[in-house]
């Protein structure tokens, strides 16, 4: 038993978790005693707040995330080269600190899908309540908690991390690297994620209920909320830290670990997309961390950031919260969309058997979105009461950011034109994405127009728009990517028939669920309400029924994934006849990805070019006389 408690793992992490809570209790007690505060040892709220910050760190130490660094820092012998924490041989290896990017990728994906199902079930509870006017199942406090936790889970624990997970698995393979640049940091950033997820979900058990100020947590509503709010405030810090660490890891990996011959303009667009996303994450995410620290300080220590009652001598600024918050949270929309763009580029090129149309513009438009993405945040604040003139430049940049997005959509269409389209599940999701995301983009441009936004801001039109972008956009690309790389990740083929059923059910019921919300919003139904006026009853009932069907369609997906992973037919190394490097190794790939370092000799999408190769497994010196000549004469863009 002692040995188990000393070795890194779940026993030690449990012990450390208790230690962390004890530590917080003592810290609060001593602090309050020193300050002569009442209830020094029994103030549950203070103890919980400090525990939420400290206990997860103790837990991660117990789990072994920091072992190597601690050994190194204290001068003890490190376990550098035995690779005992690398790769997975049984399912148990997925439940420990693992430094293999492929294992971490799967850990990310499964964790994210777990929280997607939690968040989806929460959405159904909400829809059940909204099926009829009046209150039926939950009270308004619970309802406000439901939509807040729903959004927080699906944004911070599903869309953002699952893209990090897919890229974690695929990206090092795509650039011909044996792993990520910082494998231990990679492991740590994954394990921060379940911590954040458990914290957000557990807020329902806090006295006073879950945080109920929306995922936007606008102050001063959030600074006055019961204890549940702290679960959000602190949980977001862990998710954000995970995000930043992973983004740094991707940047360094992409810049330093590309295979010989892979210039920036020979990188697959998925790599480009994650490069752009990581730039956004590294620059923007500290801002949401700051905004939530402000809330925490206001709430826990009586700071005065957002307390604005001039009459009472308070001079905080309520609008500052929104500026800082949206300076992250608008780029976050692109953090949740650019990796999806990368996935779609891979799939459409491979499945249409044609080179991606306008490769360089596809790459540059990603960078344009990164730059423009930082100049549009205040379009969330057209009715916030900020200075009126700020609205106008923000309207123009918001409209202009549709241009690079349009370039991508038109280029995908041109890529398909005259191709030989394989209409299997990944491609269907890609095509579904094209149409629904276009709708989301159009309603986005409409919302950029200030007078129209003044009317529909904070209505169901916004709910419809965000779901067309994040479900019709991000979610469909996630499904496309999961089906596309499923053979590579698991070494098994998924069931094509079930995949198609999943697609059609999702596509149809997605639209029936979210399209009517446009109408509700235009007709004047505000969002985030537990109850609504009688006139909206019919459409709301329709939406509720469709949302349940949409939920059922996810069970088809779940069954397909589980059953195919357990017993699907073995997948070939390259079932899609793709050129990118991840398909040139076995499915699943060997533990260090490549037995020989690949050399990249051409672009990643040379479909239709006779004899074209992207990478070869020979040294550059050997490669030159044989293969490179034939590629160099082929009509590439250069």
């Amino acid at each position: 038993m002692t040995a188990k408690l000393r070795a890194p793992g779940w026993y030690r992490s449990g012990l450390f978790l208790l230690l962390g809570i004890a530590f917080s209790w003592v810290l609060v007690g001593v602090g309050r005693l020193a300050m002569d505060y009442p209830n020094a040892w029994t103030d549950g709220e203070a103890i919980t707040t400090v525990s939420l910050i400290a206990a997860p760190l103790f837990f991660l130490v117990g789990l072994g995330c920091f072992d190597y660094w601690f050994y190194w820092a204290s001068g003890r012998p490190t376990r550098a080269e035995d690779h005992s924490s690398h790769g997975a041989e049984s399912w148990k290896d997925y439940f420990r600190v693992n430094t293999d990017h492929k294992v971490i990728g799967i850990q990310y994906i499964c964790t994210s899908f777990f929280f997607m199902f939690v968040g989806g079930l929460i959405a159904m509870l909400m829809r059940a309540e909204l099926a009829q006017p009046g209150m039926q199942f939950v009270d308004t406090a619970t309802f406000n908690g439901l939509f807040s936790v729903h959004a927080a889970l699906l944004i911070f624990l599903f869309v953002i991390p699952i893209f990090a997970g897919i890229a974690n698995y695929v990206l090092p393979l795509m650039i011909g690297a044996p792993d990520m640049a910082f494998p231990r940091l990679n492991a740590l950033s994954f394990w921060l994620l379940p911590v954040a997820g458990v914290m957000l979900s557990a807020s329902f058990f806090a006295p006073g209920g879950a945080f109920a100020s929306g995922w936007t947590a606008y102050a001063p509503l959030s600074t006055e909320m019961p204890l549940g709010q702290v679960f959000f405030t602190v949980g977001v810090q862990f998710a954000g830290a995970a995000s930043i660490a992973t983004a740094l890891n991707f940047l360094v990996t992409i810049i330093t670990m590309r295979a010989p011959g892979m210039s920036f303009f020979r990188m697959p667009l998925l790599v480009w997309a994650n490069f752009a996303t990581s730039l956004l994450v590294v620059i923007a995410t500290p801002f949401i961390a700051a905004s939530q620290f402000f809330v925490l300080l206001d709430r826990a220590l009586g700071f005065n950031f957002f307390d604005a009652f001039v009459g009472a001598g308070k001079d905080g600024s309520v609008l500052m919260y929104q500026h800082v918050f949206w300076f992250y949270s608008h780029p976050a929309v692109y953090i949740m969309m650019l990796p999806g763009f990368g996935i779609i580029s891979e799939i459409i090129s491979v499945k249409a058997r044609k080179p991606i149309f306008g490769y360089r513009m596809m790459a540059f438009s990603l960078l344009a979105i990164v730059v423009l993405g930082f100049t549009v945040w205040a379009h969330h604040m057209f009715v916030s009461g900020m200075h009126a003139w700020i609205r106008v430049p923000m309207m123009i940049t918001t409209a202009i950011i549709a241009v690079p997005t349009g370039i991508k959509i038109f280029s995908w269409l041109a890529t398909m034109w005259r191709g030989v389209l394989r209409l299997d599940t990944p491609m269907l999701f890609a095509l579904g994405f094209l149409t629904t995301f276009t709708l989301g983009g159009i309603s986005g441009v409409m919302l950029a127009m200030i007078p129209f936004d003044i009317y529909v801001s904070d209505t169901y039109f916004i709910v419809a728009h965000i779901h067309y972008v994040l479900f019709g956009g991000s979610m469909l690309t996630i499904f496309a990517g999961i089906y596309y790389w499923f053979p590579k990740m698991t070494g098994r083929m998924y069931d094509e028939r079930l995949g198609k059923i999943h697609f059609w059910a999702t596509f149809v019921f997605f639209n029936v669920t979210f399209a009517p919300m446009h109408l509700l919003g235009l007709d004047g139904m505000p969002r985030r309400v537990a109850d609504y006026a009688e006139q909206y009853a019919t459409l709301n009932l329709l939406v509720t029924i469709a949302s349940f069907m949409l939920g059922l369609s996810m069970l088809v997906f779940l069954y397909n994934m589980v059953a195919s992973w357990r017993g699907g037919p073995r997948a070939a190394a390259n079932p899609w006849r793709a050129l990118t490097l991840e398909w040139q190794v076995s499915s699943p790939p060997p533990i260090f990805n490549f037995d020989a370092v690949p050399t990249v000799v051409g672009g990643p999408y040379e479909y239709g070019v006779p004899g074209a190769v992207h990478g070869i497994f020979q040294s550059p010196a050997e490669a030159k006389p044989t293969t490179a000549g034939s590629v160099a004469t082929s009509p590439t863009r250069e």
Binding site: E224, K354, I407, A448, Y455, S457
Partner: protein, 352 residues
């Protein structure tokens, strides 16, 4: 006869766009309009639809055509498409055309913005204060005391400047029929303009999440003729004149009886209609709010002390099926002592 696929697509796309635009223009998307601001905004929406429909049709048509014409047929399993890497002219077109289109839309939207926010000299200024979970209004009077009420009444065809404040958290003052909204933000005063053009009663909605009772923070605005508005203003100032008589019994802790009681109850009824009726139904007062308990039945048999507590400390006792924290708990401050006495007397008289 087989036409060129691009020509076919253009024809199908044009027809689909035309149908889409007609549908978009025929459907009545918005609730009733009752302000000058509604016209330009609704037209802007129509223009946006006219531009948006062809864009959506374009993407959908090309996608469907690609699926129909270029899908893999049996025997093509190993075939690839032609290695087309790009076309600079096409790429310039689909960068420049959307950019020009978007900048034009922005210019138009800016013109609409200037139009709906135009300042007027003869404007009526109304102060709006949001609190959890009700709206209060203040009408400054030239040379006199401002009128405080929870009923929003506006004269037709007079531009109104709403100056919006918040008592506790952020709210959002929204009249869907006027098409405009603005956040009520603690610490600052925000402004929004509307010129009511149609008589009638329209919903006032809180559009920014403000806590437990956000969903029920609904009331209404009444647009009346200028003459009726002036009459209403006078009625509002009248109780101030009756204050002297009400004040005499104010110290009596609701022990009002005899002749003074009738006056007090009348004041109470008036106070109820303008302060409580948007949330509470009460048959005698003719109100039909649904956010709080129906007082026609809920008050049966309560004594005056209980009634007073219900008003000034609403969370002390909660009717089953309703929640604490929804009804404002500051009526002791926002209503005068005689108004509360009046309310107690009135409610006691109707709950017997």
């Amino acid at each position: 006869m087989r036409r060129h696929p691009v020509a076919q697509m253009v024809i199908v796309g044009a027809i689909a766009s035309a149908i889409g635009i007609v549908i978009a223009l025929v459907i009545d998307w918005f609730p009733a309009d009752a302000a000058e601001q509604a016209g330009p905004i609704d037209t802007l929406y129509d223009v946006l639809m006219i531009v948006s429909v062809p864009v959506f049709v374009l993407v959908t048509t090309v996608t469907l055509f690609a699926v129909w014409r270029f899908r893999m047929r049996p025997g093509q399993e190993n075939e690839d498409g032609p290695p087309i890497h790009g076309n600079t002219r096409l790429e310039v077109i689909w960068t420049a055309v959307p950019a020009i289109l978007l900048v034009s839309l922005c210019s138009y939207a800016y013109a609409v913005l200037v139009d709906i926010e135009e300042k007027h000299d003869d404007q009526l200024v109304v102060h709006v204060t949001g609190q959890q979970f009700a709206w209060r209004y203040r009408y400054p009077q030239p040379g006199g005391r401002a009128i405080e009420t929870t009923a929003l009444v506006l004269p037709k065809d007079r531009p109104v400047l709403f100056k919006v404040h918040a008592e506790d958290v952020i709210h959002d003052f929204w009249v869907p029929a006027f098409r405009v909204k603005i956040d009520a933000v603690p610490g600052i005063t925000t402004e929004v303009r509307a010129t009511p053009t149609k008589l009638g009663r329209y919903p006032v909605v809180c559009a920014e999440l403000c806590g437990l009772g956000h969903a029920v923070m609904r009331s209404s605005v009444r647009v009346v003729t200028p003459a009726a508005y002036d009459r209403w203003l006078q009625e509002q100032t009248a109780p101030a004149g009756g204050e002297a008589t009400g004040g005499a019994t104010a110290g009596g802790e609701g022990e009002a009886g005899g002749g003074g009681g009738a006056d007090l109850a009348a004041l109470g009824r008036e106070t109820f209609v303008s302060n409580c009726g948007s949330c509470h139904t009460l048959a005698d007062a003719g109100t039909s709010g649904a956010a709080g308990p129906d007082l026609t039945t809920a008050l049966r048999g309560q004594d005056e002390a209980t009634l007073r507590e219900d008003i000034v400390a609403p969370d002390a006792r909660i009717t089953e099926g309703y929640q604490a924290g929804v009804m404002p708990d500051n009526f002791a401050e926002t209503l005068s002592a005689e108004q509360i006495d009046g309310l107690v007397a009135y409610l006691a008289s109707v709950s017997r």
